[in-house]
């Protein structure tokens, strides 16, 4: 199996899976779910077997079509994209196990549509991860938006549809209104859109135009949820929890920050940006989002909305780390993508587990729930600690690198932001943990529930374990991202 073929396969496999799921779905739900798991597992196998080649320094690429001169659909695997793809494919397996438990446990409608679109979304994620130029990335970015819209609107009642419209409206409007013009502008001045180490804009653009173009990118990539284009993320919380867990904690939002990292590192170039003072606003915008979103999260009473605002803050962490423009912080940004993915998916799994078992969605209802659902709440605790950045969880590693990067450049804005936001994170997560474990239930629940279905428990235990494992064994990830031609030049 050549690596070119593997790249294409990783995009086509989920699509083929989607077709299979659609055919079997109506009459054979068991077969459908088996097919989902099989597709997820084989995708993971295909993606992960690319890893050795990458570690050996290879950069396999494949060109599919040339639309206009210099405008191609092209894929290239590099460490950052590899990490993203490996993460998404691995978590898809776990999430599929979880989905089966959740969708059956809650008797959701349109389950076939759910699994089909999930597979399509994953195909788009692979396309984004392996995109060799901005145009290819943009195509899959839009596919991801369109394929997740029905997942958000899954419930189909009027309130859900309104939220889903907000979701689609913001993501499409920003991508067509800002992101696309930015791409075209880049193409105009640079004559290419290929992701090139060191960037393509150096010497082609200077002065305030750089800051403006960066703004078009940062706010056009709405999936990264930098304020004020963050509103779609809380709106997306009306979706079933597996969607929130994999897509709105991992795939979609990570696609956003991933795109921003790609743009900063491979389009602008880190060194070019650090010489250009008009781009400095990015750090401040990200820092502001971190703090503001954390404060908003403090005031949430709905568990999933709290997690959504926490996600917004954590995403801007990554953006801020990128904006520090130091190699160490770029590594930190990359690891934070993985760390936050494991932690946040665990938290969402826990929220969905609580909902499935007890139908509870509000924070104040969670008193004493730790005794009824020990596995769930243990996983929740690990996830929350990772968000705060407490060892032995993955969040600690990434925060370490980001802090190291900010000290390297004496960037006090970043340092203060990290400290304040850590305090805020602790303020909204620790009370939940405390109430859940150490308080008694005020009123006994109407249904005397215990743990959620087994599939759910397996899934959230797995992701919680991954959160800890990433703390203990982070060397392979570090090796991958600190490769030459990777994050640092």
């Amino acid at each position: 199996m050549t690596s070119e073929f593997q790249i294409l396969l990783s995009i086509l496999l989920p699509l083929a899976g989607a077709v299979g799921i659609a055919i079997t779905g109506r009459h054979y739900p068991n077969l459908r779910e088996a097919l989902t798991l099989f597709t997820a597992a084989s995708l993971t196998a295909v993606v992960w077997t690319l890893l050795p080649e990458l570690l050996a320094g290879e950069r396999p690429s494949v060109r599919v079509a040339e639309m206009l001169p210099g405008l191609t659909i092209e894929f290239q695997v590099e460490p950052l994209g590899m990490l993203f793809a490996a993460l998404a494919s691995l978590l898809w397996i776990v999430n599929s196990i979880y989905s089966i438990g959740y969708m059956r446990g809650n008797n959701e409608r349109h389950q076939t549509r759910f699994y089909v679109l999930f597979a399509v979304a994953l195909s788009a994620v692979m396309g984004i991860a392996f995109a060799g130029n901005l145009l290819t990335l943009f195509i899959f970015y839009e596919v991801l938006t369109l394929s997740t819209y029905p997942l958000v609107a899954h419930k189909g009642d009027s309130k859900t549809v309104v939220s889903a419209r907000t979701y689609l409206g913001i993501l499409l409007a920003t991508s067509i209104g800002l992101f696309l013009p930015a791409i075209i502008w880049t193409y105009q001045v640079a004559g290419t859109l290929d992701f090139t180490p060191g960037g393509i804009l150096d010497g082609n653009l200077a002065g305030p135009a750089v800051g403006l173009l960066l703004a078009l990118y940062v706010f056009g990539i709405g999936k990264a949820a930098v304020m004020p284009v963050h509103r779609w993320l809380p709106a997306a919380m009306v979706a079933p929890t597996p969607v929130s867990a994999l897509l709105h904690a991992v795939a979609v939002v990570k696609a956003g920050v991933f795109t921003i990292i790609k743009v900063v590192v491979f389009i602008f170039g880190v060194e070019f940006l650090s010489t250009e003072s008009s781009a400095d606003w990015l750090l401040i915008a990200a820092a502001f989002t971190v703090i503001a979103a954390s404060i908003v999260a403090l005031r949430q009473s709905n568990l999933k909305r709290l997690l959504a605002y926490s996600t917004i803050a954590q995403l801007s962490y990554v953006v801020m780390a990128v904006a520090i423009l130091k190699p160490l912080s770029e590594i930190g940004a990359t690891i934070h993508i993985a760390a936050h993915a494991f932690g946040k998916i665990t938290l969402f799994f826990a929220a969905g587990s609580i909902y499935t078992a007890s139908k509870k969605t509000e924070i104040h209802q969670l008193r004493g729930i730790g005794r009824r659902m020990p596995w769930t709440m243990a996983a929740f605790t690990i996830g929350a600690l990772s968000m705060i950045g407490v060892p032995p969880t993955a969040g600690f590693v990434s925060k370490w690198y980001i802090l190291a990067g900010s000290f390297q450049s004496d960037n006090y804005i970043a340092i203060v932001t990290i400290i304040v936001s850590t305090a805020l994170n602790a303020m909204y997560f620790l009370p939940i943990i405390f109430y859940a474990w150490f308080c008694r239930e005020e009123v006994a629940p109407t249904n005397d529930h215990g743990e959620a279905p087994l599939a759910i428990v397996i899934a959230l235990t797995a992701t919680a374990a991954l959160t800890v494992l990433l703390f203990l064994f982070n060397q392979p990830v570090l090796d991958l991202v600190s490769q030459p031609g990777g994050m640092s030049k």
């Binding site: 639309m67 405008l71 839009e142 499409l172 696309l180 075209i184």
Partner: protein
């Protein structure tokens, strides 16, 4: 004498001669079969001509061996080849796919006449495209228009009649304006041959009649092309015409008028009128901008599905004109590409509408609530084509929008404003296409007992062929691109 030498003439003559024969065919199904085969032949001829043009730049043919400029000269360039492909392709695909749709809307006793008129329209359109003679264009234009009125009026809804009457009045006024313009030019130059005209206007001392002629011709053709604000005839005609007719005409009729407009403005007047750029940047560009914004805005609030798509067509005419009004190589190429790509998208959309029309008598949006569950293939094709209309990457619509935006960006501050307008109208397109999609996919079916089936297979196949072409030409646009850029180069080669 080799048959292939006569392709330019055959392109027009074949459908024209077969049309009266079709009238005589009283066997059920035969008129359709003959019309389809004829249209297929026309398409094959168009493909043959395109191949020749791609090899050798252009083909000229002297009718009856009379030497130009005295005789009528047929002139096939890459620009004409592009249009020929659009027209004959649209006609063939809609005819092949549309038999059942036409059968449900038009009685068998009237079908021979209907198909005859269809072939005449086809012949008229191709005639306009291949001829190099100004008056000849007028004649073919009226053949095409009269035949179009007839096939539009075949619609079963009675509201089609006032609509087509309005079209007839406005279309005739447009054609007459064109005729006045030709008369004035003939007065000053003594020629009707387009190529000859260009050379001779050079020698004319007094340019005022030529200026007046340019005004009349531009206005008349703008009427035919439904350039805002001269578009009043189009929405209702498209809404109430038989579905297949709408698919055919929406793909090509306004574009043919634009083709003549561009040919006149760029080949005949360009070098001769010092105020030529003014005509575009001061006069046509604002019209294009208004068309884009206002028509997209109206489409957002339109309640009838076909009406919505008709207003969207008006906006797309604006895009084509906007590209041309930049009077630059990239702009013109983008406009011509959009001609091709919009024909693909709108053809597919209206074919999907024809599928819906097989199951619904009224195509108000509210009637289509939840239809995607019952007609999944139809709606999936609709979504694909709709994405192309919006200009989502990976579809044909994206290519032309990309080219249009990058052409506009070369125009400095004005260009940035134009880009903003294109972006806004793209977002409006998202809204109006999404209204349909959301209703079809997430709306509840009106009554539980009422269930409809998927459209007939043949119609679906046609719809999907058109929808997939949007993807194909979105990824591999080299054929229309080479034709469009070559035409743009030839239109601009006279630029002083």
């Amino acid at each position: 004498m080799i048959l292939t030498d006569h392709l330019p003439a055959l392109q027009v003559v074949v459908p024209m001669l077969i049309a009266p024969l079709v009238v005589l065919m009283r066997v059920r199904g035969l008129p359709w079969a003959v019309a389809t085969v004829t249209s297929l032949m026309a398409f094959a001829i168009a493909v043959g001509l395109t191949n020749t043009v791609l090899d050798s730049y252009s083909v000229t043919y002297e009718m009856g061996s009379w030497r130009a400029p005295y005789g009528i000269e047929l002139h096939v360039t890459s620009f004409s080849a592009l249009l020929l492909l659009i027209v004959t392709g649209a006609s063939t695909l809609t005819l092949v796919a549309g038999k059942q749709s036409i059968d449900t809307e038009i009685g068998h006793d009237r079908q021979p006449l209907f198909y005859a008129a269809w072939l005449l329209a086809l012949s008229g359109f191709t005639g306009i495209i291949v001829t190099g003679d100004a008056f000849n264009i007028f004649v073919f234009m009226e053949i095409a228009s009269l035949a179009s009125y007839v096939i539009i009026a075949a619609g079963s809804d009675r509201r089609v009649l006032p609509a087509v009457f309005k079209y007839l009045i406005m279309g005739t006024i447009g054609a007459t304006f064109y005729l006045i313009g030709i008369g004035l030019i003939y007065m000053m130059t003594g020629t009707l041959n387009l190529a000859d005209m260009e050379a001779r206007i050079h020698e004319v001392g007094e340019l005022r009649p030529i200026l007046v002629a340019a005004g009349f011709i531009t206005l008349g053709l703008a009427l035919k092309a439904a350039v805002f604000p001269l578009h009043a005839w189009l929405p209702h005609s498209y809404t109430y015409a038989p579905h297949i007719v709408t698919a055919f005409l929406a793909a090509c009729s306004t574009k043919v008028a634009l083709y003549v407009l561009l040919r006149f403005d760029f080949l005949v007047f360009q070098q001769n009128l010092s105020t030529h750029e003014v005509q575009f940047t001061v006069f046509l560009m604002p019209l294009a901008v208004f068309a884009i914004l206002i028509a997209s805005g109206v489409a957002v609030f339109e309640r009838n599905l076909k009406g919505l798509l008709a207003y969207s067509s008006l906006a797309q005419v604006g895009y084509i004109l906007l590209g041309a009004s930049l009077v630059s190589m990239p702009g013109l190429t983008a406009g011509l590409m959009h001609m091709f790509n919009h024909a693909l998208a709108k053809g597919a959309l209206f074919l999907a509408v024809a599928c819906l029309g097989m199951r619904f008598t009224r195509l108000e949006l509210v009637n289509l609530s939840g239809v995607a569950r019952q007609m999944p293939w139809t709606m999936a094709a609709f979504v694909l084509a709709g994405l192309s209309l919006i200009g989502v990457p990976g579809t044909a619509g994206f290519i032309s929008k990309w080219m249009l935006i990058s052409a506009a960006l070369q125009e400095g501050a004005l260009g940035v404003a134009l880009v903003a307008i294109i972006v806004v109208s793209s977002l409006l397109a998202v809204v109006y296409i999404w209204r349909v999609i959301e209703l079809a996919y997430f709306g509840d079916p009106p009554e539980a007992g009422q269930s409809v089936n998927e459209a007939p297979v043949w119609l679906l196949v046609g719809t999907w062929v058109a929808a997939l072409m949007n993807i194909y030409f979105g990824i591999i646009p080299s054929l229309p691109l080479s034709l469009a850029s070559e035409s743009a180069a030839s239109l601009l080669q006279h630029l002083p």
